[in-house]
């Protein structure tokens, strides 16, 4: 409950920026409701004038019609303006929230981002925000105008005739009852539908993604059988859910019709029994209009309430993300005069307290040295990268770069002193140029081309349709893995930072490109402190220090010869590579 209150107050804070629109919208809403409700009354007055042949008072007609015309104009205008106000309020709030969430994401620690699937975060920023806006803002105005309409109608009805008004009031809760009855009944059916649909989507996802495997093993028949079974279940579940939920409208229409008949009969009876004094025909006509108008918001309100709850849940998910604690604040000092020495002093680190990884690790790297990180798959080689780049903070101990603790300098300056090429290449949607210039934004074209030549990327870039201005689609879809890697290296070549972190590719790159990449790496590494996640023997052998990792911890450390002589884990790894 408290949680909900908190969500609401955050929502209000956002909407509050557009208080003017909100207030205006509410005023316009009242105006619309009042005008809409007055029209039937005036129409009734006109009808009362139409008593019979030769008895119509034409002189009374015109002013009434003029009044109706004015009310119509007011309603249309205020309806339109209200729509505009709601749009302003909704879309701007959505924009504000999206921008704020995005900004917040930029400051979230990687530990959060690594633990939460990208799809989930994206759906919060896109879908949830949309749903929240639709449900909460529009639902709210609907609710407001609905309540106003009901209250207004009640007021008008009681002011005209309390007997009929009471008759209406007694019947209407019926429609609410029916609607909630159906909603309750269908809830279980809908959850079954959702569950079965999820099951089917999972199956489709699995079988189509791996369709080639299905075909290779010739199991199409069995798969189709499984699909059809789920499909039939879904069909039955959907049929029930759709049918029963679609009864809501006819049921409320039925209640509506009852109200209508009730008003008609009660009105007529009152009118006859009181000799035309209690209720005029025009008033009866107005009542009949109200009977239609009045039940509508009732039917809507129950829908709006569930929608509001859903919207609030969406808002909660968005705000949850925005309330995640950000990274520890930066120190004020810039890391200057980087000589390339790196020192890890009694470092301990683990992602979760339950699973200890690096324990009391010490390493001293002199400027210009090469450090190869080796170990079997999944041994936690990337953990070291995470710590060096300060994507994660160590639990104990200290990392020093050029004699300064990394926690004492800004992340910006620390990261600037490292050049990082990951195995999982990542390129931004945009041109080749934009991607290379990520390394150094103010570089000239000559400098950029020079860097590309140095990494042997120039030759393939120049063959692309628009050269350096060729657009690359999301994640470099139109480039080969090797070309992507070359671009990532070019970025670093342009930046020329004093220290490097390189992640060698294991496979999937053709030999020619691989040779180029190797040469590019060599050129980059000259005179720079480099940390290499290594898969190639040549890289490993030429390293000054080899760190051997297993199960997340560094278990051996030394030169190639020293480690071989030790005849430990590294020696086994090395020998298995040649002894087939």
């Amino acid at each position: 409950m408290n949680n909900r209150k908190q969500t609401l107050s955050t929502v209000l804070a956002y909407v509050g920026r557009y208080k003017r629109y909100l207030l205006l919208s509410l005023v316009l809403c009242m105006l619309t409701v009042a005008a809409t409700l007055s029209i039937p009354i005036l129409t009734g007055n006109v009808i009362d004038l139409l008593v019979g042949p030769g008895q119509v008072k034409m002189e009374g007609l015109l002013p009434l019609l003029l009044q109706i015309g004015a009310l119509i104009a007011i309603t249309a205008l205020s309806q339109w303006l209200m729509g505009l106000c709601n749009n302003q309020m909704t879309y701007r709030t959505v924009r504000d929230i999206r921008v704020d969430v995005f900004n917040h994401i930029q400051e979230l620690p990687l530990s959060y981002l690594d633990m939460h699937p990208t799809g989930d975060i994206v759906s919060r920023v896109i879908t949830d925000v949309d749903q929240f806006a639709d449900g909460l803002l529009l639902g709210f105005t609907q609710l407001f105008s609905g309540v106003l309409t009901i209250l207004g109608t009640l007021g008008f009805m009681y002011s005209v005739n309390w007997i009929i008004a009471t008759a209406v009031v007694v019947i209407t809760p019926l429609s609410l009852l029916v609607a909630t009855f159906i909603a309750k009944r269908t809830y279980a059916m809908f959850s079954l539908q959702t569950k079965t649909r999820g099951e089917q989507t999972g199956l489709i996802d699995e079988m189509i993604t791996n369709q080639k495997v299905v075909r290779a093993f010739g199991t199409e028949g069995a798969v189709q059988e499984r699909f059809d079974e789920v499909n039939q279940r879904l069909c039955q579940a959907s049929k029930k859910a759709i049918f029963f939920s679609s009864l809501t409208n006819p049921a409320t229409r039925f209640i509506n019709a009852l109200v209508y008949a009730c008003v008609g009969v009660a009105g007529a009876v009152v009118s006859i029994s009181m000799g035309g004094v209690g209720l005029s025909i025009g008033q009866l006509a107005a009542f009949l209009s109200y009977a239609n108008q009045y039940t509508k918001p009732f039917n809507e309100i129950s829908g709006v309430v569930t929608e509001l709850q859903g919207a609030l849940a969406c808002a909660r998910r968005v705000f949850d993300l925005m309330e995640q604690p950000v990274e520890t604040p930066d120190a004020a000092k810039e890391l200057a005069q980087v000589d390339g020495s790196v020192c890890l002093d009694d470092v301990s680190f683990s992602y979760t307290p339950q699973r200890k990884l690096i324990q009391h690790f010490n390493l001293s790297v002199a400027p210009g040295q090469r450090i190869a990180i080796v170990g079997p798959t999944g041994c936690g080689k990337t953990t070291l990268i995470n710590l060096l780049m300060r994507f994660y903070d160590v639990n104990e101990g200290q990392i020093r770069v050029s004699g300064q603790a990394v926690t004492d300098v800004t992340r910006h300056s620390l990261r600037q002193s490292f050049g990082m090429v990951l195995q999982e290449t990542w390129l931004k949607t945009g041109t080749i140029r934009e991607n290379i210039l990520m390394g150094r934004e103010n570089a000239t074209d000559e400098e950029m081309i020079e860097a590309a030549k140095a990494t042997h990327a120039h030759s393939f870039i120049k063959r692309l349709p628009n050269g350096y201005d060729t657009l690359i689609s999301e994640d470099g879809g139109n480039l080969s893995q090797g070309e992507k890697q070359l671009l990532c290296i070019t970025r670093i070549m342009l930046a020329l930072p004093p220290m490097l972190i390189l992640d060698e590719a294991t496979s999937s790159i053709d030999t020619r490109t691989e040779l180029r990449i190797q040469r590019a790496f060599e050129k980059l590494m000259k005179g720079r402190t480099s940390f290499i996640v290594a898969h190639r023997l040549s890289t490993i052998q030429s390293a000054d220090i080899i760190l051997v990792m297993n199960d997340g911890n560094v278990i051996e450390q030394g030169t190639h010869e020293a480690l071989l002589a030790k005849n430990g884990f590294y020696a086994k790894l090395y020998n298995s590579q040649f002894a087939a």
Binding site: I39, I208, A216, N249, A285, G378, L515
Partner: protein, 575 residues
């Protein structure tokens, strides 16, 4: 609609009954104002209370009948829509399962999945809504007009003038907003794409300190989206006020001319009330109709996308008179001047490849990305067709063989280790349905996966989550190898499938494969020279052509491409 409509055929009865009952309900609704007019004119004005009660009773009966009709309509609409969607989905799924690999490549899994799920759901909703409402709303609008004519022809002319105007407004606003809505959707996709990219590339972006620029870009994207939404909103906000204005302007005209008619004795008071009611009915239905058109437009777009997949001719032609290879063959696989080209590709992926693989041999396939390694091995189980030349398995052209029988003798371990939701046992049984537990364990042993399964709490009955999420990459790969071995295939194809294995496991696997009692002919595709070094024959591919064939030592001596590959991985030996 040509390909999807036939799926509605079994539901012809439902498709007629549902709208029919909707119409009935609408007709009943249209009588209500007339009856109310009668209550006023005959009941109130002539002081006939009995008449009022009778009419009141009739109104309740009408309401009950209306509810019955509409419930019937909803039931048949739901039945037709869900049944139709289920049938169409089943057919679509079967259709996809007959696609050739080439088609699967060009269409891509995400597209196909979207067609099967989101799009089909929209189509189902579209069918449902169309059956329920498409006839109802226009019918009420037209019906109310006709009823107005029965009340008074002269005044009803107002209705006739109103209809085209209202139609023009509804259609006009739709026309103006639909393309703009599409643009807004495009911009929203842009925001989505940027957000996702920002998350997937978070390490690189932070390494380059690009947060500020990302924030700026996001702000720009969102500003633009907001501006576009406001623009469309301005137009669609006009719809309701304008229709309200039109209908109520008609009301004023109606009251005014009605007054003159009443004055002249041509119209009764009750009739005017009835006319006013008809006008209000039109207004209510118009709003519903506008929403319905939106739903249907969306559904039609989705249906179009589904149909584009349905209309693709499926698969490759199978031989009408399949030949079954006879008995044991010394020569397992033979390529005779084979070329293969992917659909839409400019050149051959492999060209003029010839080689022969004997029973029990290990064949290594090595070469760079795009050199045609995967293409070559995919031709053996006839996942793709050779564009020229002939691929023979057990002495018979694969095109002349029954594909099912052919693939039964071959087991492929794909590059991407794919396991399915279910127990480990269920997954392994894909290889051979009738395999015993001993056979499974034997295969696991050979695949170096026995320890993986033994380490699980439930052993073979351990549940694998969707996509094998609860297993590591190496574990998945070993299990997929075991799955292939369960089949005891004549031909085993490992398509770069040891890449997630460390060197030690890779080596142990190769040893175990060699020591199997009935050794299969094994094709090993790899980037690692160490994985294929001890093969009986190594095929070296370079840009689609066979650059060399022979043993490691032979190739190292005379094949420059092989030398290049080998020495890039083992430079020390070059010295």
């Amino acid at each position: 609609m040509k390909t999807l409509l036939p799926f509605l055929k079994p539901y012809r009865k439902e498709c007629i009954i549902s709208p029919l009952f909707k119409l009935l309900e609408a007709v009943l609704e249209l009588f209500v104002p007339l009856m109310m007019a009668a209550v006023i004119d005959k009941g109130i004005l002539q002081n006939d209370i009995g008449y009022v009660w009778r009419m009141g009773g009739l109104l309740v009966v009408l309401a009950l009948l209306g509810f019955g009709c509409s419930a019937t309509a909803q039931f048949f609409a739901a039945k037709a829509a869900t049944g139709f969607a289920a049938d169409a989905k089943s057919a679509l799924f079967a259709h996809i399962q007959r696609f050739s690999f080439t088609q699967l490549d060009t269409l891509g899994a995400p597209t196909l999945i979207n067609r099967m799920t989101t799009d089909m759901n929209q189509v189902q909703t579209g069918v449902n809504m169309t059956l329920r409402l498409l006839l109802r709303s226009p019918f009420i609008v037209v019906g109310a007009t006709i009823m107005a004519f029965t009340v008074d022809a002269k005044v009803a002319l107002i209705f006739l003038a109103l209809l085209p105007l209202l139609t023009a407004v509804v259609v006009g606003v739709m026309r103006l907003t639909l393309p703009r809505h599409r643009k807004v959707q495009g911009q929203l996709d842009q925001v989505l794409l940027h957000t996702r990219e920002n998350l997937t590339g978070v390490r690189v972006l932070r390494a380059f300190n690009k947060q500020e620029r990302e924030i700026e870009q996001n702000q720009r994207d969102n500003e633009l989206l907001c501006a576009m939404q406001l623009k469309v909103g301005r137009i669609s906000a006009l719809m309701n006020p304008i229709t309200f204005l039109l209908v109520n302007a008609a009301l004023i005209v109606l009251l005014f001319s009605g007054a003159w008619q009443v004055q002249g004795g041509l119209l009764t008071q009750g009739a005017v009330v009835a006319l006013v009611n008809y006008l209000n009915q039109i207004l209510v239905e118009l709003i519903k109709l506008a929403n319905l058109i939106l739903t249907i437009t969306k559904a039609l777009a989705c249906a179009g996308r589904v149909e584009s997949v349905m209309e693709l001719p499926s698969g490759m032609e199978d031989s009408s008179d399949p030949l079954l290879p006879s008995g044991d063959m010394e020569i397992r696989v033979q390529f005779d001047h084979v070329c293969a080209r992917y659909e839409g590709a400019g050149g051959d992926s492999i060209s003029d490849v010839s080689f022969t693989a004997l029973q029990g041999q290990t064949i290594g396939v090595i070469g760079g990305t795009g050199s045609g390694k995967s293409t070559l091995i995919n031709l053996i189980p006839r996942f793709y067709d050779a564009s020229a030349g002939m691929v023979k398995v057990d002495g018979v052209d694969v095109k002349r063989q029954d594909p099912e029988k052919l693939r039964e003798r071959i087991a492929v371990v794909p590059q991407h280790a794919a396991l399915f939701q279910g127990t480990i046992r269920e997954n392994l049984l894909w290889g051979k349905q009738s395999a015993t537990d001993e056979e499974l364990w034997e295969a696991l042993q050979t695949a170096q996966a026995a320890e993986v399964v033994a380490g699980k709490e439930h052993g073979l009955d351990e549940e694998i989550e969707q996509g094998g999420r609860n297993l590591s990459g190496g574990q998945k790969q070993r299990l997929t190898i075991a799955r292939a071995l369960v089949r005891k295939p004549e031909i085993l194809i490992l398509d770069d499938s040891a890449s997630a294995l460390d060197y030690a496991t890779d080596a142990a696997l190769r040893n175990a494969l060699r020591e199997m009692p009935n050794p299969a002919t094994v094709f090993i595709v790899s980037q690692r020279a160490s994985s294929i070094r001890f093969a009986d024959q190594i095929l070296v591919l370079d840009d689609g052509t066979l650059a060399g064939i022979g043993t490691h030592d032979e190739l190292l001596e005379r094949c420059p491409v092989y030398q290049e590959i080998y020495y890039s991985q083992y430079p020390k030996e070059a010295a």
